[in-house]
Amino acid sequence: MLFHIDDLPVYFPYDRIYPEQYAYMCSLKQTLDAQGHGVLEMPSGTGKTVSLLSLIVSYQQHYPEKRKLIYCSRTVPEIEKALAELKRLVEYRKSCGLNETILGLGLTSRRNLCLHPSVSKEKKGKVVDARCHNLTAPWVREAAQAGQDIETCSFYEELERGDVRELVPDAIYTLDDIKELGKAKKTCPYYMARRLLSHANVIIYSYHYMLDPKIADLISKELSKDSIVVFDEAHNIDNVCIDSLSLDIMRPTLEASSKSIAQLSERIETMKQQGSEKLKNEYEKLVQGLQDTLAARDEESIMANPALPDDLLHEAVPGNIRKAEHFVAFLKRFNEYLKTRLRVLNVTAETPSSFLRHLKEITFIERKPLQFCAERLSLLTRTLELNNLDDLASLQRVAALATLVATYDKGFMLVLEPYESENATVPNPILRFACLDASIAIKPVFERFSSVIITSGTLSPLDMYPKILDFKATVQESYPMTLTRNCFLPMVITRGSDQVAISSKFEVRNDPAVVRNFGNILIEFGKIVPDGIVAFFPSYLYMESIIAMWHEMGILTEAWKTKLIFVETPDSAETSIALDNYRRACENGRGAILLAVARGKVSEGIDFDHHYGRAVVMFGIPYQYTESRILKARLEFLRDEHRVRENDFLTFDALRHAAQCLGRVLRGKTDYGLMVFADRRYARQDKRSKLPKWINQYITDTSVNLSTDMGIAIAKKFLRSMAQPLETQAQLGVSLWTLDDVLARQKAQKEKLERVGGVHQQLQQQYGAVEAQRMMQARASGDVYMEVD
């Protein structure tokens, strides 16, 4: 359908639209118009992606600026789905008679795209990257061109021969399409995609490509300033930010980096003996490179890199690391220092500045040369024309630590843990360099791009994200779900049929009565729910111990009688097979039970819609491991910096994961499913209030404090009524709008605006023109929409 929001024609590739989608698009447009950032929470499974894409593509194509859309998602299957949606949308626009050229494509790692006959057989991404590098590094190619017998990659060579723009016609390329195109043209799909990024109108990739400084610097830094950046499924974005700037150092890491250092110095020796000019020119290159970066940053043509702060660019490279051999010696000293630190057998936690002070006392290493470490190392590896970068990973990690620890004194923390777990006796020390401030990694993104949209099905409470990511949101919205029939039933089971309260609280979680009651929930739901059931546990550890206990109690034998059982394992390939089999079991016969972990791989990005999940059970509340020192440090940081209370943050974090797990059960309003919260603590208001509005709105008083048998009775009734055929006619106008409904809504809204025109003037007198405009807009989009239900 085609409708207008204000003056913007929006092509929506369906005949009907959910009211949520319409409201969502209105808010989106408002955000884009204001060139500001937005936080939008939209119910899971109501077609967020398609609304987002259709509005932004319409917006992009309507205005002459043609702002680029950078859509970041979480997992590769989600990227794949978004690309398919985009393709469908563009086909729809074509079918509406629009004559436009849109280039859209997705990017993923070499491992998923490679066509090279032997390299593509590798299973590990790291190995693929290293082997690709060995075939495509400039010096390798130079040597090959000079006639040496060195293997290169024919696909890459083919790409180098032609112009990418000429090679690739404007269209939408899914990951598969780009691979097919590569096959057809015999060119490397990965580099083709990377080179096309700067030309593309729509880019879809994982948000690591935007947030992780190591990758972002390679791929995303040149994307234009007025791009629209969307983080979809962004409920976990703060953790991604933190992860991308945190690192762990262990003994094997240091051993490996010692080895690499030795290799480097050997290599330098041989180069010297060959009398190569390269080493001599190296320093000039470094200085030149830094200056180029500085110039580019000043012109705002590239994005900042949190691991290479601006002030560094203004400074001269310290003398003691200018020469290659000096730098290697410097690295060696630092590495040895870290080794001695790991020998300490008690837990220590310190700030970067105290670490630096201690470092200086022992080794006389100054802060400044440390800051340059990462940049200097990458230059050195290029100069030395090193292959097998894979081997250098550990050393790179050490260098990254050096740079980060010397750059930031706030928002980071060093924790040394000599033992892996509390009851371990053999020391296996880990030096954790933990980022506590999620805003550091995402800061360049907010600074560079004018519109950044953060969206997901579970972002409640909305004001948390602007706080912890440190940005100002122009639009902040959460939409309720309009339903003609209550197609999902959230229920809180607080006790078993024997009235023993159930909880995953640490003190009681292994109590046999609690474990048995959890098990009974599984058995009973297994008996009444058709097709698939997914059950989530708060952690791997807990899942493992509960499965062992259930097996001993005979609970699983009971559950096996009604359904097949599949379990998530730490190995992703193994889990993928289990998932695939789970879906086959749901398609044939009585269905299956999938046991998974709330923060695990299955909980992210796998949909359990329709028969793949008629019930999702959340056993306990997925709190983080609160004894973790890093978490404690982060909580402290949040309290001091953002005034977020520890408990608030922990509950927020736990419930967003719980809601995320449970939300995957729905896709569209014809789907239906049960959401079972199995923990006593969910009955409390403080927990429930942190659930997304759209779930909370359907938790009724009757379903908030149930025992297992009561829950089963309600679920039975629900499933029976849901299995009845659904009349679309009943939904029309309420939870499903046709074009007429949209137009009627817009008309009513306009009339209302005219009616409150007087109010506008009043407001203008009171608050001034700009403010009044903003308030009116808020009324126009949010308030009017709220009257729908």
């Binding site: 794949e80 790291k126 791997y540 550890l541 111990s545 699983l556 394992t569 009585r590």
Partner: protein, 596 residues
């Protein structure tokens, strides 16, 4: 060679008493003509065939043995042509058909006087025929190998014999009996009608073929292997001895759960170890105790099972190194994501780091075993997953299915059959209600009425400043209407509340019987079923004059209320019977009468 009107339905090249010849199955008899002969030397009328036996499929010779009702007269034909089996099957089917028919007729008992064949049983009842056939089958003189009677006692395999020989009759009888035993109402009706000799057994089932077919299908459906996780529990005997019972199902489950046991089984049984010996050693082995309780006790060493245990532990200890992910749906392929973002430099915190603690080292093999067992169960029932042949198209459709939201698309109107009314005018008139009631009474000029209305309409004045009074009688009228509507809404008292339960039941079964006979009555209106038609008329009359009457008398003894409700209950049926009888009277008399 053939009698007038005789036609050959099937034939075969056979050897009979070491003489070659041809076996014919005609519409009257089974006949054998020697090669070169003109007249059949063996001739068995359909009604004389008692039972047939056939050699097993795959036996060295293809034979058919037919026994007559005359004691000890049996004929054995050996089919010799290249298509021996087909010929034999054709004749066999035909014979089984007539035996089947006869048995059905016979079971209907004396009520069926259609032919005077000496039935194997003279009695009338639900299914006496079946049992007598069975005793015949096991009578002395049953041929031994290579002629193996394919009839026998009832066993699980019996149902599959449905196509073979007299077995089908046997099976059908079984089915009928089972149906009657399961369905009380049906059995009541059966007693009422068949035992009450209103209709014959055959006629009764004629209208219930679907029930029989359904039941047979249910019975024939094989139960699949249980998917449940095997929990081998010993049976404890009196003297505290422990006994494990191994059924094929249990063996299957053990093999599914522990592939290493299956490998050992395939390797050693039955060449090196007997099956019993194998399982005996299994129960004594460390493997068994470890897998059951998780604790290896001090069992003696056992080469086979210790090796199997080792293999099993090796398999479940860690994730398999090389897993092919090509054939799985890309939307659930987690490895693409994991390998998309290279090494985060982080190790997950303790609770998320699986496989590290002591408990998890115990749990992980169990989890792997679960996943693999479930996969094997799936594969054994729906077959292993084959890699896609055309990866692009199939995979894409998977993604497509995951993204397209169906309820947002305009549903295409499902094709409907347009009601085509030939004479629309008549149709709408009939829908318009009773025209007579709105007729203008005689002596009133329509003109006048119109004028009156017109005057009323034009002269009507709305007086808004006066209070509007509703006349008293309007209220009364309204009240009456409301009351009568209310009375209509109340559920009327019916027989189930008024009548005593036994009488109510009787009325119900009488009603059911009447309807059944009515059905048979209307089904037999065609000329060729005249005899049945007459019988049905009799039955209807009987129902009307005897059963209904007796019910009425019983009801009237309980009071007028009961009588009324009884009348109300039976009225529709009585009306139908009346109509049916009227129809029968108006119908031209069946030709039988004319002949008489």
């Amino acid at each position: 060679m053939w009698e007038a009107g005789e036609t050959v339905a099937a034939q075969g090249v056979t050897v009979y008493r070491k003489r070659p010849g041809f076996l014919y199955f005609t519409n009257r008899r089974l006949a054998w003509v020697p090669e070169g002969g003109l007249a059949p030397t063996v001739s068995v009328k359909h009604d004389e065939i008692k039972v047939q036996y056939v050699s097993q499929e795959g036996a060295t010779s293809t034979t058919l043995r037919v026994a007559e009702f005359k004691p000890d007269v049996k004929h054995t034909f050996q089919f010799t042509s290249s298509s021996a089996i087909q010929e034999r099957e054709a004749i066999k089917d035909l014979i089984s058909h007539i035996i089947h028919d006869r048995l059905l007729r016979a079971s209907a008992g004396g009520a069926s006087s259609a032919n005077g064949t000496p039935g194997p049983s003279g009695g009338s009842g639900a299914s006496p025929g079946a049992s007598s056939v069975m005793s015949d089958a096991s009578a002395p003189g049953t041929p031994k190998a290579p002629l193996q009677a394919r009839m026998g006692g009832l066993g699980p395999a019996g149902l599959r014999r449905g196509v073979n020989g007299a077995g089908s009759v046997d099976v059908e009888m079984q089915t009928r009996r089972a149906l009657l035993a399961q369905n009380r109402e049906l059995s009541l009706l059966h007693t009422e009608l068949v035992v009450g000799k209103h209709i014959s057994e055959n006629e009764f089932w004629e209208t219930r073929k679907s029930l029989l077919r359904n039941k047979a299908a249910i019975d024939q459906q094989q139960k699949g292997q249980s998917s449940a996780w095997l929990d081998l529990k010993p049976q404890t005997g009196e003297s505290n001895d422990v006994k494990y019972v191994m059924t094929p199902q249990v063996i299957h489950s053990v093999c599914q759960q522990y592939p290493s046991i299956k490998r050992a089984y395939d390797q050693f049984v039955p060449d090196k170890l007997s099956e019993a010996e194998f399982w005996k050693r299994y129960f004594q082995s460390r493997f068994f105790h470890r897998s059951r309780s998780g604790r290896g006790a001090n069992e003696p060493d056992d080469e086979i099972f210790d090796k199997a245990l080792e293999e099993d532990e090796e398999e479940t200890k860690s994730a398999p190194k090389r897993i092919k992910l090509d054939h799985i749906n890309r939307l659930v392929d987690l490895s693409t994501t994991e390998e998309d973002h290279l090494e985060s430099y982080l190790t997950p915190d303790g609770t998320m780091n699986a496989g590290k603690t002591k408990e998890s080292k115990e749990a992980m093999p169990l989890i792997r075993r679960f996943n693999r067992y479930a996969q094997r169960v799936l594969n054994s029932t729906i077959g292993p997953k084959r890699p896609f042949t055309g990866p692009e198209s199939l995979d894409m459709s998977g993604v497509e299915r995951a993204i397209v939201m169906e309820d947002l698309q305009e549903q295409k109107e499902s094709s409907k059959i347009v009601l085509n009314i030939q004479d629309t005018r008549r149709y709408f008139e009939s829908q318009g209600g009773d025209m007579k009631s709105s007729k203008i009474p005689d002596g009133v000029d329509p003109e006048d009425i119109l004028k009156h209305f017109y005057r009323d309409y034009t002269s009507h004045e709305v007086v808004l400043n006066k209070p509007f009074v509703i006349p008293e009688n309007t209220f009364d009228m309204l009240m009456r209407n409301v009351k009568s509507n209310r009375a209509k809404l109340l559920p009327p008292k019916d027989g189930s509340q008024l009548l005593p339960p036994h009488l109510y039941q009787e009325a119900l079964s009488c009603h059911a019987a009447g309807n059944e006979i009515l059905r048979h009555f209307w089904a037999s209106t065609s000329m060729d079923k005249a005899a049945k038609h007459l019988r049905m008329i009799e039955s209807l009359k009987k129902i009307r004059d005897e059963n209904v009457k007796s019910l009425m008398i019983q009801a009237s003894s309980l009071g007028t209320d009961c009588l009324d409700s009884m009348k109300m209950m039976l009225k529709p049926m009585l009306n139908s019977i009346q109509k049916a009888l009227k129809h029968a009277d108006s119908r031209p008399k069946p030709p039988v009468r004319k002949l008489a």
